[in-house]
């Protein structure tokens, strides 16, 4: 997360991989699944959040605070 965007916006991982979000902005952000399957809640500046990508498929997510921040995790 930097400049109020997810970087990279799209990431492909294998099932069982751990995805790590690092907030390089000075504002809090969230990584929240569109289908509400997971939600980081607020990640403060310089904070880190991890998710074990369990379910294969394409998972869209966004930041609750800045909903124009959109990302996709593809789990194979």
């Amino acid at each position: 997360m930097r400049n109020v965007a997810f970087d990279p916006p799209s990431l492909t991982v294998a099932a069982g991989d751990t995805v790590v979000w690092t907030n390089a902005d000075f504002l809090p952000h969230t990584a929240t699944a569109r289908d509400a399957a997971w939600d980081s809640k607020s990640i403060e500046a310089n904070g880190v959040w991890r998710l074990v990508a369990a379910t294969p498929g394409t998972h869209e997510y966004y930041c609750v605070f800045h909903p124009n921040m959109k990302g996709t995790i593809v789990v194979r």
Binding site: N3, V4, A5, D25, F26, L27, P28, A45, V64, F65, H66, P67, N68, M69
Partner: protein, 202 residues
Amino acid sequence: MSTYHSASTTGLLLGLALSVSGLTACSKSETPAVDTAATATPAPAPAAPAAPAITDAQIAHIAVTANAIDSAAGVVAKKKATAKSVKDFAQTMISDHMGVNKQAVALATKLGVTPEDNDVSRQLKSGADESAATLSGLTGAAFDKAYIDREVAYHQAVADALDKTLIPNAQNAELKGLLEKARPAFAAHLERAKDIQAKLSK
């Protein structure tokens, strides 16, 4: 910071737009003035070389003032708003604008710059004071709508000021960098406020 009050859409927008256009006019003295009522008037003598439109100390003051105003407006809205989307938005305004201001104050301290009061800051502040009355007289859905309308106009005005005046005129690279870093947050707030505005008017 607690002395700032929420701002009225009209007062704030006009105040900022006026000051920004005034600054632009100063910095571009060669731009021909079009005045249909005075076409017979000879062209004015060339103006003296333009002084810097605005100094870093003034830019820092505008940034701190603009953030303080919106986070204070958020504090009021978080208490008074009824729609959850509006309450949540207000909370983001509090945390984001306080976050930006922490950075701005830290940078000013590091650079030894004392933020300097100026016309834009004063207009921001008076617009904010003026609207405290407007918003304080409203409750319920009327408050929600007035607050969000104001937020849309406010963020649009600040984003324009950043693009046209503050970022281009910032001399110090770190100050310019901070403004550029804050710019996408204003865009995100604007988009979210517009989205809420559209839903409230349904």
